[in-house]
């Protein structure tokens, strides 16, 4: 296993030290935890916006701490939800009295730990609200599954709720914005290779030279389907068509698109995919109001990509287009 690491069991701790060392004016670490918050948290007069999850998805989440986006981000071990006590500390550190919105991705571990943390915070009179992101279309949402995964569309939720909070929105208003994005965003991903976690030291699943995995998540687990190698155009078509079929936008709708790299894929290939994604959106009569191409929510060194499409109205355009100043996203 070839990684730039020291002792693998120090992976997350050292990563956080490196982040704080890079952005000492932007973030501080809560003592004895794996939580980073804005250096000036809690920010007076503003609803706090926090998120968190396993490590290994960088820049998600701490890369989005700053004006107009997150006040705090909790890092769990690689691919492991942070513990409830640390989430509670984060919520309390980001509460200026206006309440805190937690952006939670739909994984049982994330939801249970955030739920427990919310209970703990409320016992100390912090008002906590939550939105649960479930934008992945690869998995059916039914009584017979644990629902859909929260994947790259989460970044648009972070951006919109962060902007609403920065604009003085109340906790209810900020939560409503989050729900609005969730209602309007869909994503699907694929992988050319698995990823290697620092503790396991091997790929989490084996793909042959001629195989790809469709319907992947962000935790290195197998996808919904293994199939033959596809061209970039075929991948773009498969992902985008599935997303649009589920989102079912109308002709003339404005959208935000994201072609997101899983970590190991070169940026040039993401642009090759974007070329076909934009062609499909255009053919469907959709107007791409903003296109994002890059690594926003990764899975360590996995090669692959996901396509996100989010329908946007004037409110969401204003919020998604608002100024933001974080290490990983600026406008």
């Amino acid at each position: 296993m070839k990684k730039l690491v020291n002792d693998p069991s120090d992976y997350v701790d050292e990563m956080l030290e490196g982040m704080v060392a890079a952005y000492p004016d932007r973030v501080r670490r809560l003592d004895g935890t794996k939580v980073l918050v804005r250096s000036d948290a809690p920010v007076d007069g503003k609803v706090g916006v926090v998120s968190g999850g396993g490590s290994g998805h960088e820049p998600t989440h701490a890369g989005y701490i700053g004006d107009g986006m997150l006040d705090g981000a909790a890092a769990g071990e690689v691919f492991t939800s942070p513990t409830a006590d640390e989430l509670n500390e984060m919520v309390r550190a980001c509460d200026a009295g206006e309440g805190v919105l937690c952006v939670v991705k739909n994984y049982e571990g994330d939801v249970m730990n955030f739920d427990t943390a919310a209970e703990m915070a409320e016992m100390e009179d912090v008002e906590v609200a939550q939105v649960v992101v479930n934008d992945d279309v690869a998995v059916e949402d039914s009584l017979y599954t644990s629902g859909r995964r929260g994947v790259c569309g989460t970044i648009l939720v972070h951006k919109a709720v962060g902007a609403k909070a920065a604009d003085g929105g109340s906790l209810e208003e900020v939560q409503a914005v989050g729900e609005k994005v969730i209602d309007n965003v869909r994503t699907m991903g694929m992988a050319l290779t698995s990823c290697i976690t620092p503790e396991k030291g091997e790929e989490t699943f084996d793909l042959g030279e001629d195989e790809i995995e469709l319907g992947i998540g962000i935790h290195g687990e197998p996808g919904t389907e293994r199939t033959e190698m596809m061209t970039a155009d075929e991948v773009a078509e498969h992902l985008t068509e599935n997303v649009l079929a589920d989102l079912d936008p109308d002709d003339g709708d404005d959208v935000v698109s994201i072609v997101n790299g899983m970590g190991g894929t070169p940026l040039s290939e993401l642009f090759i995919v974007n070329r076909k994604v934009q062609e499909i959106l255009d053919d469907r009569g959709l107007e791409t109001w903003d296109a994002w191409v890059g690594d926003y929510m990764t899975s360590l060194d996995m090669m692959g990509c996901s396509v996100t499409v989010c329908r946007v109205d004037d409110e969401l355009k204003e919020l998604l287009g608002a100024a933001v100043d974080t290490p990983a996203l600026k406008r």
């Binding site: 396993g54 769990g76 071990e77 690689v78 691919f79 492991t80 939800s81 942070p82 513990t83 409830a84 006590d85 640390e86 994984y107 049982e108 571990g109 249970m112 730990n113 739920d115 427990t116 690869a138 998995v139 059916e140 009584l143 017979y144 599954t145 644990s146 995964r149 976690t197 503790e199 396991k200 989490t204 699943f205 998540g217 935790h219 290195g220 687990e221 197998p222 996808g223 919904t224």
Partner: protein
Amino acid sequence: MADESVQREALITAIENVAARIEDEKSHLTDLDSAIGDADHGNNMYRGFSAVAEKTDEFEEMSPAEVVKTVGTTIIGNVGGAAGPLYGGSLMTASQELEGGITTETSVAFAEAYLDKVQDRGDAPIGAKTMVDALVPAVHTYKKSIEHDDLPPLTAFAKAVEGARRGVAFTVPIKATKGRASFLGWRSVGHQDPGATSTLFIMEEILATAEE
């Protein structure tokens, strides 16, 4: 049953044995969680139980109920993921049943409360391919053996472990409808559930401790 300090010593020995077993099985649990998950269950459990094992000095000052509760809070604070709240939160809640000490009756109440909390928290029925599939046969067998068959607790628990073992085997051929494995849909069939497996390992060590 024996007095409080004997119960506490037994708990502490069980904890140490469980921690050692989890360490031995870390790779195996990781492998299970690779086939139908994100390859972290082994590390998560190892991290949590190592933290628990480090507290054995503190436990010397506690009642059995407090020991179990502390194991729960330590797991919540160290394991993370799905298993953390499920193991830890359930131990915390169920520990209340042991406030009068560990007796045959309170051990049944504890087992039931533990299972209830796991199902309440995780919302998984039987057959969802989770730790519940190891717990339900274990708890049902334990309760029935004690309350209906008047078996001694050690015999009842040995039967419970056998029930858990069948539960773990049962997780293999079914489709996951809860947990991360449910994202794999039909591809989850044919693979053993990691959380059910770690539950079995823990129960086996508790039984081994009790048999000494």
